[in-house]
């Protein structure tokens, strides 16, 4: 019956209730849409970073991270390969790579690049290499002189498919080594910097260039994300890193993307804080309306609260009843706000083209297409912020109602 009465009290002044509900709905909607967009931008930034050869986990020589040269190689990759096959989850992908710094040159230009020796059969699906080809073809395992380069590099070197490009680097004996390659394919990446930075040759070609037999500089692992759209949401990551660390010889280091990209990890954590801050700012604006409305509702019922107290209602019951009205308002507002917010995020499920701010988005390492999405935690956070803080601010009018004395109330005309 108490809830029934609170429900009727909420609808005493439908216009006022409508206004405050609108404020709650807009607040919840804004939080969810902004949250979804932010989550999409974060996911895009992280996916880009992981796709740009980082993967979820890398196994490499402990010294390689500080000094990425062929001397810091993994000598016996076959043994590591067997271990990865038996230890990794069934739906994980992995491949060996040789990744060293070098210089690319032709008659028109010479620039510093990163030479990436890949296993053409295993690399697709592991990095952007597999699905970014714009012209030509991918490398084949026996292609000893083929190279795949980025569109921006092609433009910068004023070259094209079929033309030669000379790669120069330091080999295992610390001697300068160089070799000519023919451009077989041109890839497009989300970021121009990526197109200029990386050139792909086969693992065998890289070994020949660097004068090593079977060595690689690392293994890159990508775990399955399952049904989650959040790239951060990887339950397998820590477990896999632990399992590999336990089984690997001490001469090898297992690094998760969080260790490989600490700046990005910090940036993503900061983004989460910004989201919470945004929720609080929106809530603050909403809270003024909520308190004001509830205060009006309480003050116009001063005589009624006085009567209830005269009849024997304790202050705490009055506070509870006013809070129940707040809960009803907040619950209705949240239900509608959630529907609207989640609906809007779903409506943009095919993604928002951010190419109008391409340079800005590239600065943050974000792709051109941002697909907004919400995690259960985001939805819960929005609802918890509005419901809990809403109740907290409603305490003021509720306590005010609880303090009304019957004599004061009855003296009011």
């Amino acid at each position: 019956m108490h809830l029934h009465i609170s429900w009727r009290n909420v609808w005493r002044n439908p216009k006022r209730t409508g206004i405050i509900l609108t404020a709650i709905i807009i607040g919840a909607w804004t939080m969810l849409v902004f949250g979804g967009l932010s989550r999409g931008m974060m996911a895009s930034t992280l996916s880009n970073a992981l796709n740009t050869l980082t993967g979820h986990i890398q196994v490499q020589s402990p010294a390689y991270r500080d000094d990425p040269v062929i001397e810091n190689q993994i000598d016996n990759p076959a043994e590591l390969g067997k271990l990865l096959d038996t230890t990794l989850p069934g739906d994980a992908r992995w491949a060996f790579r040789i990744q060293v710094g070098g210089v690319a040159s032709n008659a028109r230009n010479a620039e510093g690049i990163t030479i990436v020796g890949i296993d053409p059969d295993r690399e697709p699906g592991l990095s952007f290499y597999g699905d970014s080809l714009a012209q030509g073809r991918h490398l084949t395992p026996d292609d000893g002189h083929g190279i795949v380069v980025g569109q921006a590099l092609v433009e910068s070197f004023e070259t094209r498919l079929g033309r030669k490009l000379v790669l120069m680097t330091q080999d295992a004996d610390r001697e300068t080594a160089s070799r000519a390659f023919k451009i077989r394919g041109i890839f497009r990446a989300d970021m121009e910097a990526t197109e200029k930075q990386y050139v792909f040759i086969t693992l065998d070609a890289a070994r020949k260039l660097l004068g090593v037999e079977t060595a690689v500089t690392g293994a890159c692992i990508k775990l399955s994300r399952g049904s989650s759209r959040n790239p951060v949401d990887l339950a397998d990551l820590d477990r896999t890193v632990r399992a590999l660390s336990e089984k690997l010889s001490p001469g090898l280091a297992v690094l998760s993307w969080e260790q490989l990209l600490p700046l990005l990890k910090g940036y993503l954590a900061m983004f989460d804080s910004f989201m919470l801050l945004w929720y609080l700012v929106v809530f603050l604006a909403m809270a003024f309306g909520l308190v004001n409305t509830m205060l009006m509702a309480v003050l116009e019922r001063t005589r009624e609260f006085g009567l209830l107290k005269a009849l024997g209602m304790k202050p705490v019951w009055i506070i509870r009843n006013v809070l129940a009205e707040c809960v009803i308002l907040l619950a209705i507002g949240l239900a509608a706000g959630n529907l609207l917010g989640i609906g809007t995020v779903l409506a943009f499920g095919s993604g928002i083209d951010m190419s109008f701010m391409a340079q800005g988005s590239e600065f943050f390492g974000m792709g051109h297409l941002v697909v907004p999405f919400l995690t259960a935690r985001d939805i819960l956070a929005v609802n918890a912020v509005i419901m809990l803080l809403g109740l907290l601010v409603c305490l003021y009018p509720a306590v005010k109602a609880g303090r009304i004395t019957p004599v004061e109330a009855m003296a009011r005309t």
Binding site: M1, L307, L311, V407
Partner: protein
């Protein structure tokens, strides 16, 4: 009450009660040492002009306010000095109130208004409903149980208030000028009904009034003037 001395039959015992309000820089002495007793089953009126202290005395007896000085004993229990929470419990279980106006909750029907006090007392839903319906019939509101206050006349609203006041079987009903906002015919009907309740159920009624009609119905009239009892007459 016998010659101003308290007996075990007394439901209210007021001993040398004073109440002073602060109004701006002035002290207003609403009551200046009132002593009286009300016996169980009385139908008494506190009469006097505006400002004589009758509403203040009624509020003090009802535990709605606390005296500046003196002692009030209600149903053998000293109520001066009780906490707000204990006073609320006392009002809930021992006292029924009928006010001059704004007596019933606008969002509740007549039956729900009557049930509300029993709800606070923790009476079961079934019993609440049965008792509310019976008492509403008794006060002449058959067929109007589910009407909201806006659909009831002033007199009918006061009948709902009386029904609510007595449904919880209080020791005493305090009515502050219950007929002030009613026309004489409606007021007379209400008084008739309360008089019947008093006689049939033995419920003690104390009114504050300056309405002659209420004084005509009352079987004891306590006249107040300037915060003092100036006359106490049993008919």
């Amino acid at each position: 009450m016998e010659n101003g001395k308290t007996t075990t039959l007394d439901i209210v015992d007021v001993k040398d009660v004073a109440k002073t309000y602060r109004q701006g820089n002035l002290d207003v002495h609403a009551l200046a040492g009132v002593s009286l007793s009300i016996a169980r089953g009385e139908f008494a009126a506190l009469a006097g002009p505006s400002g004589s202290g009758k509403t203040t005395l009624l509020n003090l007896i009802g535990g709605l306010d606390t005296p500046t000085r003196g002692q009030i004993i209600l149903d053998s229990r000293e109520i001066t000095g009780l906490s707000q929470s204990k006073l609320a419990t006392l009002r809930l279980n021992k006292i029924g109130f009928v006010f001059q106006a704004y007596n019933i909750i606008p969002v509740l029907s007549a039956r729900e208004n009557v049930e509300y006090v029993m709800l606070m007392q923790g009476v079961s839903a079934r019993e609440r409903s049965d008792r509310a319906r019976a008492i509403l019939d008794d006060v002449g509101l058959e067929g109007m149980h589910d009407r909201r206050p806006a659909e009831l006349s002033g007199g009918q609203q006061q009948r709902v208030a009386v029904a609510r006041a007595i449904v919880s079987r209080p020791s005493i009903v305090l009515a502050d000028e219950p007929t002030a906002n009613l026309d004489s015919k409606t007021g007379q009907g209400l008084l008739e009904m309360m008089s019947q309740m008093n006689q049939a159920r033995g419920v003690t009624f104390i009114f504050s009034t300056h309405d002659q009609m209420v004084m005509d119905y009352a079987r004891r009239i306590i006249h107040l003037k300037d915060g003092r009892v100036v006359d106490d007459a049993v008919k």
